[in-house]
Subunit: 264 residues, 2 copies
């Protein structure tokens, strides 16, 4: 019996909803979790509004095994995620000695010997040491200020490079399930409308493998490049392999030269 472990990703920040910032954290987190056997089932983007964050976290942490949040844990007034998470769990929150220690050590190492550079632990920076009661710190090798993990919720920074750094301190705390194996079969020059009927038959014949069809189209100087990426996903690698065989056969019958797991 396959063990399914699920997660939600919660992206926090006005800048993602205004169109100012292109998110990349959802993809990074999903790709990080896949080999651990954790499937992202839902993602939400919410603004910097405390009640909204509280309500959304409380929904997601009950609905899924894990929740991964990004954004809103810096030193400025619009960084309200830590307080919102504490409120969601009904925990108190304050500047914590272990977080101050981490910050102090990071700044000392970071600015050692750099003339004129320092990072005084002023009131604003101490905001980044506000950690809900009972939470475990997530180390931040990039910029020092820690994230934290409270029960099944992992709270991380929004800046992608900092978030990626934090993920290195996350994997070992995640109980994974059976991983989903995925394979892509590309048919250049194929049009979905020509293969959809045969594809549906393959999908119906392999109910334990999910088949997705993703058309692509790129306008290049030498003309439009188009085709279809067919993706097979499932927990049993043998069943995925057998679906891939069927997809390859389908594309060959249509006159294409199928590419398996193309790099780009």
């Amino acid at each position: 019996m396959a063990q399914t472990v699920t997660a939600a990703v919660l992206l926090i920040g006005d800048e993602l909803l205004s169109g100012r910032t292109q998110d990349s954290n959802l993809k990074t987190i999903a790709e990080f979790l896949a080999p651990l056997g954790v499937e992202v089932r839902e993602a939400r983007v919410v603004p910097d509004v405390k009640e909204t964050i509280v309500e959304t976290v409380n929904h997601l942490r009950k609905a899924w095994d894990y929740v991964f949040t990004t954004g809103g844990i810096g030193p400025t007034h619009d960084d309200i995620t830590a307080d919102a998470i504490a409120a969601a769990f009904g925990r108190s929150i304050d500047v914590r000695a272990d977080a101050v220690e981490v910050l102090t050590a990071h700044y000392a190492a970071r600015f050692a010997g750099e003339k004129g550079m320092s990072a005084e632990l002023n009131e604003s920076r101490l905001r980044m040491a506000r950690i809900p009661d009972g939470a475990d710190l997530i180390l931040n090798p990039v910029s020092g200020a820690p994230g934290f993990c409270l029960e099944n919720v992992f709270v991380m920074a929004g800046v992608p490079s900092i978030m990626r750094g934090m993920l290195q301190d996350v994997g070992h705390r995640v109980r994974g399930g059976d991983r989903v194996h995925a394979a892509t079969v590309r048919g250049r020059g194929m049009r979905e409308g020509d293969i959809a009927g045969a594809l549906r038959k393959i999908a119906e014949a392999t109910p334990d493998v999910s088949l997705g069809s993703y058309p692509f189209m790129k306008v290049l100087a030498e003309g439009t490049e188009f085709g279809v990426n067919l993706v097979a996903r499932g927990r049993d690698p043998a069943r995925v392999a057998s679906a891939v065989d069927a997809l390859v056969e389908l594309l060959v019958q249509q006159g294409a030269t199928p590419e398996i797991n193309p790099k780009d």
Copy 2:
């Protein structure tokens, strides 16, 4: 009294949650809606699961003025958005003559004179002419198959170039509100922790302008480039301009050379 018109974006597709595909549609839609005076307040990413789509659409269309969905309206078995939207509204759905006409005309024009190319309106392609009862078509200049609009829900394709094409037939149907004006002041070399206290004071002094602080960090061959983008957003351009003045002054006091609305 400012009139606020709100929207949610619903991104539909397993490929966005598995990490296979990087979404760009949220940003495109938000940037498209901003000048129309429509604010995106929430976004969700859901898998190709009919009940989930139905439930999410029914929540979002009641919570916000508009809902914009992307994905799942192609010809393959995993394209279930049109049926899900019909179910959400309790409408019937079938192949519609107006949609067939649009498809036929597009394929005739698209493949005219191209040797060996055609696009037979087979059963699979006719799936793309399945439109819920009472919905208005959204034209698709890129690949023909229309989206549709049902009450306050706009249903569009997931492929970014096709989605962008559809947006051209969307704007004129949206009742806008007072638009939000935004301006960015960049302070290179600034660190959030040094300016957060003063920034909070500016935020408190201009409650009708929302101030966001977004640190950036780029690792380049010649060293790490870092700084802060301070963003002022509000409905009254004069108030935004006055907040910008305050932000510029703050950065000058800190020894930076502020850049207003930098291009990149």
